[in-house]
Symmetry: C2
Subunit: 228 residues, 2 copies
């Protein structure tokens, strides 16, 4: 089998599907999995706090255990990998030092700037009304990047949204300062999944003010691909 | 100026930055804007409900008005476009019929399947504990795709997370069944923004169980690009 070409963003988004059936006999290679996780970490976050954490479940017994936490959805057992994406509400307490050290090592920040950013980032988190919600909303950006990155490397995904939270927390030891953001099963599809269509921009967009109709029209192929 | 090449997913993610400064003299062409919005709509959602809505603000007076809703952040005035991304909690009431009609027209669903999906989708929404939170978390996936799609077409983005909600709702007429998911300013950067680095996979990943160290190592360039 030849290595597939890495997809452009429009190609990957056009192929993205909410898969139901995975081929349980085809594992995701370690290199590909690491690549996908790495790409997911590249999305920006407030003060570079990166409040996403990934719990990678591949072991047979744990995939069966996970299935029991998601109301018996087969995807998480059939797929060779499921990533449990968590939002972490206290990165400013535990990781900000390491983050700022790295920025200084890269030469993108001076010592003085690091002191200032540390104070500002901490103050922003302290006035955040709901740090758990913030961490979850931010971690969804990494989860989405993970799905798009997977597709670009030829790996398909399924989201699992209906979760027995208490059971998952208990089974996988998730601490109170981490909140479930979502589960993404990763693997190779067992069958084709046709594109189910989407509402048009006229249904989904407003101009300037809520309720004011969208008049710019739908996108054409030229609009979504800048061409070679 | 030649049309730039559409970027691959790894390229777009590597170039994604949280921009601070936009060139206010350089508009985003209509075609590019439509392409970006269209690509954002391609992410999957539960029962294909697509609970994201985009309010596109480009008018000078409205960009100034928007700036007042985000504690005077200049990005939303300097950038030629800001998209206010909303989560909509009732798509199963207002849009499910149109969504299922489209699926039948595409041939991906029979009449009988549409009846079944309608019942299941409605039941799922009815038992959803917090539809507003669900719509916001889902809409973040479209917001993230929008950012990555913009970057792939050569357009940079800035997120604005600190928002005076009451003021925004009032100024832009956002109704109670729509919740703010986030603001994305779109435009061309006024200056370079260096990559600030990220924590490594060893800091962000666990294996099989929370707290169990990641032993698969970091990604190498071969892992993130399948090659030509």
């Amino acid at each position: 089998m030849t290595t597939p070409r890495t997809l452009t963003v429009p190609e990957a988004l056009a192929r993205l599907r909410w898969r139901r059936r995975f081929d349980p006999t085809r594992p995701v290679p370690n290199g590909t999995l690491k690549g996908i996780l790495h790409l997911a970490t590249l999305v920006p976050s407030q003060d570079n706090l990166q409040p996403w954490r990934f719990m990678v479940v591949r072991d047979d017994a744990n995939r069966r255990r996970l299935r029991k936490c998601v109301y018996d959805r087969a995807e998480v057992e059939d797929a060779p990998v499921t990533v449990i994406v968590l939002g972490y509400r206290s990165p400013h307490r535990s990781h900000l030092g390491a983050i700022l050290d790295r920025e200084q090592a890269l030469g993108t920040m001076t010592v003085e700037e690091a002191v200032e950013v540390r104070a500002k980032a901490t103050a922003r988190m302290d006035r955040c009304a709901d740090p758990a919600a913030w961490s979850r909303l931010t971690a969804v950006r990494a989860l989405t990047a993970l799905m798009i990155a997977a597709e670009s490397l030829g790996v398909s995904t399924a989201l699992v949204e209906e979760v027995d939270h208490d059971r998952l927390i208990e089974a996988f030891g998730i601490p109170a300062d981490h909140s479930l953001c979502g589960l993404v099963a990763l693997g190779y599809p067992a069958c084709d999944e046709p594109f189910p269509g989407r509402l048009g921009l006229a249904d989904l967009c407003y101009q300037e003010h809520f309720g004011r109709p969208w008049t710019l029209g739908e996108a054409s192929p030229d609009d979504v691909c800048a061409g070679p």
